[in-house]
Amino acid sequence: MGVLSLDLFVAALRLATPIAFVALGETFSERSGTINIGVEGTALAGALIGATVSFFSQSPWLGLAAAVGVGMLLGLIHAIWCVYLRSDHVVAGAAINLLVTGLAYFLTRVVWGWRGTSASAPILNPWLLVWTMVALVLISQIFLFRTPWGLRLRVVGEHPKAADTAGINVYRTRVGYSVLNGALCGLAGAFLFNNLGRFSVGMVGGRGFIGIAAMVVGNYRPIPAFLAAYLFGFVDALQMRLQDVIPSHFSIMLPYVLTIIVLAGFLGRANVPAALGKPYIKEEG
């Protein structure tokens, strides 16, 4: 049958792109010791602010910059909560998700008079962001495992005290990679906006959380995390093409069922950074 066409692989790449951006960002963040489940909301904020700025400036490039900027801002807020104020990482992330959803309804209604959806705004070719994602995955893999900066990052997440002793600023490192995570989530949102041409509050639709799952399946490594994201995108694209054969009630579940199965297989032997989610308290001496 004609299901296994080039179209399928292309659609899978599009569907995988926001997931892979988030997975990559979360890999950096968690490698340095910060859990951020606010990635779903951060991606949504990227799409929202990206669309808003592009709409008012009529410049999709400014929109892209704004999407990355708002992601960095949310990453910074999360880092301040978690690193300096030592709040619970999961609670802080959940707060970001709630905040952005509320903001999205508010802003769309105030600006466009349409609850949850923006008007159309100028866009870039979404494939630009797809290839950006692929390039960033490759660069990140090298950065993490072949450069001194990558080593420092990993030490901060594994053994912050040792890192501190070696003269690495644990707080600043964690904040920096949280901000980077935010920027990458912002790119995920920017892709979603540029792919559709407008903002809609349901457009992330859980793909941020799937990004965290892809990171776990990829065992905190960029290329495997991308492959996990691609697998999800592939099964999602496949189920769309199988709806003539399988009732949609079942086919729509397939990517999620797959995620649960693969996660169950990987969670046990996941290479979790030892200091993940634990605040570092510098000893005064």
């Binding site: 179209d7 659609a11 599009r14 569907l15 926001p18 309804y105 769309t108 209604r109 008079g113 349409w114 609850r115 949850g116 959806t117 008007a119 159309s120 979603l192 792919n195 559709l196 041409g197 407008r198 809609s200 509050v201 349901g202 457009m203 992330v204 639709g205 793909r207 999602d236 694209a237 769309m240 093409r241 709806q243 003539d244 009732p247 949609s248 009630h249 729509i252």
Partner: protein, 350 residues
């Protein structure tokens, strides 16, 4: 003694004044979780209630805000408390719920307030004091299928549904039969998003349908089929049909690909039910809206540049079609409307 008497008179007068003030009928409206601003289902329900409230307000010399109270639930879990609040107040002539997911909650709440009149749109609540409004969506979808049948060059249409539920199956059945009524050889492919609010997935599914050779897709997936419009923009000759309101108006940036929209006149149904309460002709039970029903209104299509009848209205679509093509399609639509009304066209639904 005299002071007490004055006070008593004042209290009685105040009570009478308040009682007089409360004499005008009030409407309680519980919207669906999507809330106002969807430029579709919820907004239409609100417009219907607002129009009724304006008439009531004019008659009693009060403001619309005095007559119409509405709430926008954030989730289904909020419905029950809103219904109970409205009901307990005891001052609403009718309480209206917009949306199919209100029915099970009304079945719980309505029996506790047997004197309160309720109306629910799009679902049946089997309670003695609830009027359940259902639309013959298949009639609307049939008209959309007629347009698709007349315009499709690939002789293949698509339907993007939000979820595989009986409501959306009526859209699919009507559309398919309408298209085949024009072109018996025509094919229809159906895809479901599994979500009413995810246009990203809606776009992917629509691209898949278009690449599978469908050149006209009927969107019945709420905000998800905004993705259909975005997909249709990617190639000349790909068209989309909107739902519930003229989406060439509600999504004007896509008026160049939205060739028509199925209409679901929730506003007319809400207005009519409120007016029945005011006239004293209101009855509980299941009430069907559509061309081939006692009400005779509620379904239709927005297509072409002219208001043709109660069922065929002008559209804001900017798709350039030759005049003779528009006239041919309008003639066929008229024929379909007459067929549905006189029973020569029977639309089969599951």
């Amino acid at each position: 003694m005299r002071r007490a008497l004055v006070l008593l008179v004042a209290i009685v007068a105040l009570g009478a004044w308040m009682g007089f003030g409360a004499e005008h009928p009030k409407i309680g409206l519980v919207l669906a979780t999507g809330g106002l601003g969807d430029r579709s289902f919820n907004d239409q329900g609100f417009w219907g209630a607002e129009r009724a409230a304006e008439e009531i307000a004019a008659e009693y010399g009060v403001s619309v805000d005095d007559v119409l109270d509405y709430v926008e639930p954030r989730s289904i879990a909020d419905y029950e408390s809103f219904y109970r609040e409205f009901s307990r107040a005891g001052e609403y002539a009718v309480i209206i719920g917009i949306g199919f997911d209100h029915a099970p909650i009304l079945e719980e709440v309505a029996p506790d307030y047997p004197d309160q009149k309720f109306v629910v749109i799009d679902a049946v609540a089997a309670v003695d004091n609830v009027a359940s409004i259902v639309f013959r969506d298949q009639e609307t979808a049939f008209l959309c299928g007629v347009v698709a049948g007349m315009l499709s060059e690939t002789r293949k249409g698509g339907v993007l549904g939000g979820m595989d539920i009986p409501l959306i199956r009526r859209f699919v059945d009507g559309f398919t039969q309408g298209m085949k009524w024009i072109d018996a050889e025509a094919e229809v492919s159906v895809r479901f998003v599994g979500d009413w609010g995810n246009p990203t997935l809606g776009k992917e599914l629509s691209l898949e349908l278009y690449r599978g050779n469908a050149d006209i897709i009927y969107g019945a997936a709420g905000a998800s089929h905004l993705g259909t419009f975005a997909a249709a923009e990617e190639r000349d000759g790909w068209w989309a049909i909107g739902t519930d309101v003229d989406q060439a108006w509600s999504a004007p940036e896509h008026a160049d690909v939205i060739i028509a929209s199925g209409l679901k006149r929730v506003d007319l149904a809400v207005y009519t039910e409120v007016m029945k309460v005011i006239d004293g002709t209101w009855e509980a039970g299941v009430i069907e809206y559509g061309m081939a029903t006692d009400e005779g209104i509620g379904t239709g299509i927005a297509f072409g540049p002219w208001d043709v009848s109660d069922y065929i209205e002008a559209s804001y679509s900017t798709v350039a079609l030759p005049n003779n093509v528009v006239k041919d399609i309008l003639a066929k639509l008229n024929e379909a409307v007459e067929g549905i009304r006189d029973g020569t066209i029977v639309i089969e639904t599951e």
